[in-house]
């Protein structure tokens, strides 16, 4: 299991990994054969395994991006299967934030619960950021959860983490189980009022 960071996540800083392309699905991020396990251990070794084999120049093969903390993607990233193995693998490889045009909601929720905020930005800013990192892989990117401001070298633009997730990161409540178990009497009240729970 991943040792996720705990506590408030106000900002992520680190080097970037640009991964261009729309509609990159979770089968590509983590092919199903790597779900054949009762743990999440070692998933980082299999990220984009088939894409990497097909393309030696795949960004996840590129040593210049080793140790990157911020993945920079395009639209509808993480679509398809709800497998948490995809964001688990990314988190285990050291990715601590993802910046993209848009994300599948299931993926975004799965990433959030692991402490990985997904920032949505406009396509032009993303292209500039991807280009900057492609030319200058050592550049440090700063991504601020509270303001949504992302800066890197000469670039500075605003991106958005959905408000409820943003507040969860800021308050340190992005892993919600304890919060859901708090005041459990209220859960029972709601359940007891539901006709199908009480047997009609």
């Amino acid at each position: 299991m991943t040792a996720s960071p705990a506590g408030p996540i106000l900002a992520v800083a680190g080097r970037g990994l640009p991964l261009r392309g729309h509609d990159i699905d979770t089968d590509r991020i983590m092919p199903a054969r790597f779900l054949r396990s009762v743990t999440f251990e070692g998933l980082e070794q299999h990220l984009f395994e088939d894409d990497r084999a097909a393309d030696p120049r795949h960004p996840f093969n590129d040593e210049r991006y080793a140790g990157a903390a911020i993945l920079i993607v395009n639209a509808n990233f993480g679509c398809g299967s709800s497998r948490e193995h995809a964001p688990q693998g990314l988190a285990q490889s050291g990715i601590r934030a993802i910046v993209g045009e848009s994300f599948s909601e299931i993926f975004q929720g799965n990433a959030a619960i692991l402490g990985v905020p997904c920032f949505a930005a406009d396509p032009l800013s993303l292209d500039r950021l991807q280009t900057l990192v492609e030319h200058t892989p050592a550049v440090t990117i700063d991504a601020h959860v509270d303001t949504g401001v992302i800066s890197a070298g000469p670039l500075r633009f605003t991106a958005a983490v959905p408000p409820a997730l943003r507040d969860a990161f800021i308050s340190g409540q992005w892993n919600p189980t304890a919060m859901l178990l708090d005041r459990f009497d209220e859960v029972r009240l709601v359940a007891d009022r539901l006709p199908y729970v009480s047997g009609f």
């Binding site: 299991m1 699905d25 092919p31 199903a32 054949r36 009762v38 299931i106 859901l180 009609f200």
Partner: protein
């Protein structure tokens, strides 16, 4: 005030606004399987948490379970380990499990409805994106990840944001040879694979009203392929008739009271929607994908667009402006939570009857559940398939996601009744998937290439 089913159900299940800003939502039905649950149980043990409502979680094995050689222990050691882990977890936490040898085993989204567990007005969660299937009953059903499976086990709740609601009307009549699968592929093509992000899709209109629950499940199942996390159809007489007499459905006077409540949670006639879209059912043709996401499809009579995505064309080996019709296939797969139900097998068998699978094609029929398997066998459908050269397999997810030994090899082309044509989805990194209706898959299996099923239907006496 007039409201949508989505909001009515959401409001009845909202426990409170969390300090994070999300809503704590009570989950009425939780379904689990062997692949996305073991880590969740480990997390429970690590924290010393119990399962809050063990009688509201139900389990089965579907993803990795072999469709051949099903005797335990499985020859596939990992299938055995994952199945055994689920058996141990369900035993330890007091959860009802239908394991591989149970008569009720099957794909989680098929057995929920089959057993009457899935009911209108419920909130449903499962660690699988095709949980949207259950929306066919007028439930709000969410696909979730493993950490959220842990949350539901521990608290019977999820922390979620509400969705907007897009009403999709499909009006008119479907032509012969056109199925629910073609309707949802057309919707995804028109609205895009990310068109539904942020939305729940409410399907309605006269074509949907006339559909059986099985057809509605096919539609709702693929909502997620259009980016919509949930999709639903308002419950009606068809829904109530489907549920009556199912093992977990209310019975006797409770059933009548349930119907009253189910009616009350349907969208009101003047409910406000965040968006509305309408389609003409009569204009929909048999539809087939040519690319690497479910939105990249054409009507069977159409050519692939000249400006089709280059990455997709290159991967699939199609030229711009080419027809998908006439593409030779290597494998035909009939099954999955999208199209592995009895009516799917009936339609496919109608095409297969009296024909034979082309010599170069490997064709599989994988019923969605053991219940469907028995029902099909009682009707002799298995014999129709076997006589036609199809393999008749045990129930499970099989070649939809290729977690067991059912998978493509090399660059094989598969005509598939499943839901995803992603690169590598069917188990070979270079394998190619053409999504279509089960009848179209049967027709392709026999012809050895993609054909318009309507040409074969013409030969079948009505």
């Amino acid at each position: 005030m007039a409201d949508t089913l989505f909001h009515k159900v959401w409001n009845r299940h909202a426990v409170r606004a969390l300090s994070s800003g999300q809503t704590q939502l009570f989950i009425g039905l939780h379904l689990i399987h062997e692949v996305t649950s073991p880590q969740a149980f480990d997390m429970l043990r690590q924290h010393g948490w119990r399962v809050a409502y063990p009688n509201r979680t139900f389990a089965t094995v579907d993803h990795i379970v072999p469709t051949l050689a099903r005797r335990r222990p499985f020859l596939d050691l990992m299938a055995e380990e994952m199945t055994a882990a689920l058996e141990r977890n369900c035993r330890d936490f007091g959860i009802q499990l239908w394991s591989s040898e149970s008569r009720e085993q099957g794909i989680v989204h098929i057995i929920g409805p089959e057993l009457g567990l899935t009911q209108p007005g419920m909130t449903i969660a499962c660690g699988d994106s095709h949980t949207s299937t259950h929306g066919a009953f007028g439930a709000i059903a969410f696909g979730v990840g493993t950490s959220q499976v842990r949350d539901v086990l521990a608290s019977q709740c999820l922390a979620l944001d509400p969705l907007k609601v897009r009403r999709i009307d499909v009006n008119g009549r479907l032509s012969p040879g056109v199925y629910a699968k073609d309707v949802i592929l057309t919707i995804i093509h028109q609205l895009g694979v990310q068109g539904g992000v942020g939305y729940a899709y409410e399907y309605g209109g006269s074509a949907i009203d006339r559909m059986t629950l099985e057809e509605r499940m096919t539609i709702c199942n693929m909502s997620i392929e259009g980016g919509a996390r949930a999709g639903y159809v308002n419950p009606d007489e068809t829904t109530f008739a489907f549920l009556r007499g199912r093992p977990f459905a209310p019975s006797g006077e409770s059933f009548d009271r349930a119907v009253d409540w189910w009616r009350s949670i349907a969208s009101d006639p003047n409910a406000p929607y965040d968006d509305r879209v309408a389609l003409d059912a009569g204009s929909i043709e048999p539809t087939v994908t040519w690319g690497i996401n479910p939105g990249q499809s054409v009507r069977i009579s159409e050519r692939i667009p000249a400006d089709g995505d280059r990455e997709a064309l290159a991967f699939m080996g199609f030229a711009p402006n080419a027809h998908v019709r006439g593409t030779p296939i290597d494998v035909a797969f009939i099954g999955s939570c999208t199209n592995g139900r009895l009516s799917d097998l009936e339609e496919a068998a109608r095409i297969a009857r009296g024909h034979h699978v082309a010599p170069h094609v490997k064709a599989l029929v994988v019923p969605g559940s053991q219940g469907i398997s028995r029902a099909a066998e009682a009707r002799g459908l298995h014999q129709v398939f076997i006589d036609a050269g199809f393999e008749w397999r045990g129930a499970g997810c099989s070649m939809c996601l290729a977690m067991n030994t059912d998978k493509l090899e090399g660059r094989q082309v598969c005509a598939s009744s499943s839901n995803r044509n992603f690169k590598g989805r069917q188990g070979s990194p270079t394998g190619r998937t053409l999504l279509m209706s089960p009848a179209m898959v049967a027709a392709a299996a026999i012809a050895g290439e993609v054909v318009d099923v309507r040409t074969m239907l013409e030969e079948i006496p009505a």
